[in-house]
Symmetry: C2
Subunit: 178 residues, 2 copies
């Protein structure tokens, strides 16, 4: 029996950081939680950083994920926005590092390809697919849906043969199982 895996997906943003928690039972994925961490608008940067750190710390404390997956952000046309986004993403990564979670990163293209089957899918398509795959009764807010999609993408990417072995606690030694 492999230990149960619980993935925390994160969609970082300078104003809203989406999070989504999904359990993996073999090929089955089960919704656990999702939501948005809002940085207080107009507040000084350290306060907004604190909101992200505290929010993710609270999510990891409550839901005890075993690993994390973070969306790689687009570089914006506006350098100041890119810098802000980078700082918010740095805070999100810091919170995950401090929670001692293994962290995987995926581009938006990878996430959409993996979850919708089309790397250029729109936000609504991602939301609809997340609802369908996780059998949700309602549609999560866009940032929360993106975060759930990142978690689902990670589930798909990390459940290849080798990953499955590694997660079951077995290791390959010179090509043989040990």
């Amino acid at each position: 029996m492999s230990a149960p895996r619980r993935v925390l997906g994160i969609d970082p943003g300078s104003r809203i950081t989406g999070f989504g928690v999904v359990d993996l039972h073999g090929q089955h994925r089960q919704y656990v939680a999702s939501g948005c961490i809002r940085a207080p608008e107009g507040a000084p940067l350290p306060e907004r950083i604190r909101a992200i750190l505290d929010g993710i710390a609270e999510v990891t404390r409550l839901h005890q994920p075993t690993e994390a997956a973070v969306e790689q952000v687009f570089v914006n046309v506006n350098p100041a926005s890119t810098l802000l986004l980078g700082q918010a993403r740095g805070a999100a990564l810091s919170a995950l590092v401090l929670a001692n979670l293994p962290i995987a990163e995926y581009t938006a293209l990878q996430v959409k390809q993996s979850v919708v089957g089309n790397g250029h899918a729109g936000k609504e398509q991602v939301q609809a697919m997340v609802v369908r795959l996780l059998k949700l009764n309602g549609t999560p807010q866009a940032d929360a849906a993106d975060a759930l999609a990142v978690a689902l993408c990670h589930a798909n990417h990390s459940q290849g043969a080798l990953s499955a072995l590694q997660h079951s606690g077995l290791r390959l030694r010179r090509g043989r199982l040990g």
Copy 2:
């Protein structure tokens, strides 16, 4: 008697984060420590984030600063570099937030203006002035010198009349001291 103030200056960078610790005794500034935190080159982003978090946590644990000052970074021409720099700065700010330090931010222009008297001073001029103001026996590495300069800039900016009152524990109540 006001409590002694110890400023931790930080010069964030995606590869090297400079730090400098300075004590303020009235108008006198005393060097405490400085150095560089190096993010392992070529390592995955989470590892580099961890190096910054751990490095700053170690510095704050060792030197127990009472406040922090962080240089505002330039937005780079290259958006990918700007994003990287933003993430590193986000990690540095996270470490300071987690250490519960009040955080002030200064632009490079403000730092150079305050320490050298010329907002467009070169790195060597900043280094030379830091050596002179803190009566150092050697010249610190450029990033460490920049961090010390940020700390000195903060000392100059925060020692106006009101700041001095606030730091002495007195508060203005409707314009009167309470």
